[in-house]
Structure formats: structure tokens, C-alpha cells
Point group: C2
Chain length 121, copies 2
């Protein structure tokens, strides 16, 4: 099980150190599904589906009702599952979906999950 510590190399999302994350080949389906089997984290996935970098500020994510530490915990679960990547720039952290990596590891899964998550309840 490898853990990447890429320093933003080759990233389209800009420079900066990255927090630890599983290598693409080590992304585990059970871990991914467990990570997304939570309403807050599924909400975050939908926010990240625009492929943009997002700050960790709960206000920008429709999660104003949650404590910042709670949101940070959920972000960590997503990152450690291989769903997101987190870039550190000074005191700021920016989160982005690992769409290409997920599509490589499990073709079609992310699109199906996003479509399902957008289905009316």
C-alpha cells in the first residue's frame, strides 16, 4: 500500500505540498463506499464535482451548520479514501476531486455515483 506525497508535480491544480493520499492503484472500493455512505460526505462529493479547488471553509460548501472540525474530519475521510486531494498553500488548504484517478481505478463508478447523488430523494 503506497502513500503519495507528491509536491504538486504535474498537477493542473497548482503548486503546493499535498497531504498524504493513497496512490491510484491503492484506492479501495470498500473504503470509497464507506466514505461516501454518509450524508455530509456525499454532499461534499457533489460540491467537488465541478472539478474546481475548494477551500475548507464550511460556509462555501453549504455546511454552515457544522463545526469546522467536523467538516475537517469528513474531508480527511474523503482524502484518505482516495476520493479527494488536498493541496497545502501556506495556512490554506484546497480540496479537489481525484476524478481522473477514480476513473482510472474504477471506470464508470464516479459518474454513476454522481448521477445517483443527483437523483431526487
Amino acid at each position: 500500500m503506497g502513500t503519495e506525497r507528491a509536491a504538486g508535480a504535474g498537477s493542473a491544480a497548482g503548486e503546493g505540498e499535498r497531504l498524504p493520499q493513497p496512490a491510484t492503484a491503492d484506492i479501495d472500493l470498500v473504503t470509497v463506499l464507506h466514505a461516501l455512505g454518509d450524508p455530509v460526505r456525499l454532499t461534499l462529493l457533489l460540491s467537488y464535482a465541478d472539478d474546481a479547488e475548494h477551500s475548507c471553509d464550511p460556509r462555501g460548501l453549504g455546511l454552515e451548520h457544522l463545526h469546522k472540525s467536523t467538516v475537517s474530519h469528513h474531508m480527511r475521510v474523503l482524502r484518505e479514501a482516495g476520493i479527494t486531494t488536498t493541496r497545502v498553500a501556506g495556512r490554506n488548504r484546497f480540496v479537489r476531486l481525484r476524478r481522473a484517478d477514480l476513473d482510472t481505478r474504477f471506470p464508470g463508478l464516479l459518474d454513476a455515483l454522481l448521477a445517483a447523488a443527483s437523483t431526487p430523494a
Copy 2:
């Protein structure tokens, strides 16, 4: 949130009372993902992917190492999430995947999950 108690009506899987299960429209994505975010339950999903009815005997499911009550717990989680349906026939219970219902509720999701679950680790 409705709960079905269909008595096998219109089922291709044979007659018999069914244990309670969510109606198709009430199948919830977070609940489905949480149910499948577990290695035993994901193994069960793969066993059920043949669309046949399966007895609850752990030996027929490659789960000989688990206690029968543990397997029963996992089967209950899958049923209550809307992933499987359980038919009661006398003292026996038979489990089958709700493929059509899942495809109706979340088109493409089950196929993507099964493909991902079949991906080498």
C-alpha cells in the same frame, strides 16, 4: 417512507412472504453506500449478482469463517437498504438481489458497483 410487505406478488422468484424492505422509491443512496462499504456485504453483493435466490447458509456464500448470526446481520443491512429481497418459505429464507428496483432508482449504479467490485485489488 413506505415499507413493502409484498407476499411474493408478481415476483419471478416464487411464492412466499417477504421480510420488510423499502419501496423502490424510498431506496436511499447514502444507506446503500453505507451498506456496501463493508467487505462482507460487498462479497455478498457479488454472490447475489447472478440474480438467483440464495439460501442464508454461510457455507454456500464463501463465508464459512463467519458465525451464522454475523452473516444474518449483514443480510439484514442489505435488505433494509433495499439492495436485496428476502423470501420466507417455512423455516427457510431466500435472498435475491433487487436488480430491477435498483436500476429503476439509480440507473447505472449497480452495474458500476459490480464492475468496480470485480476489479482486481
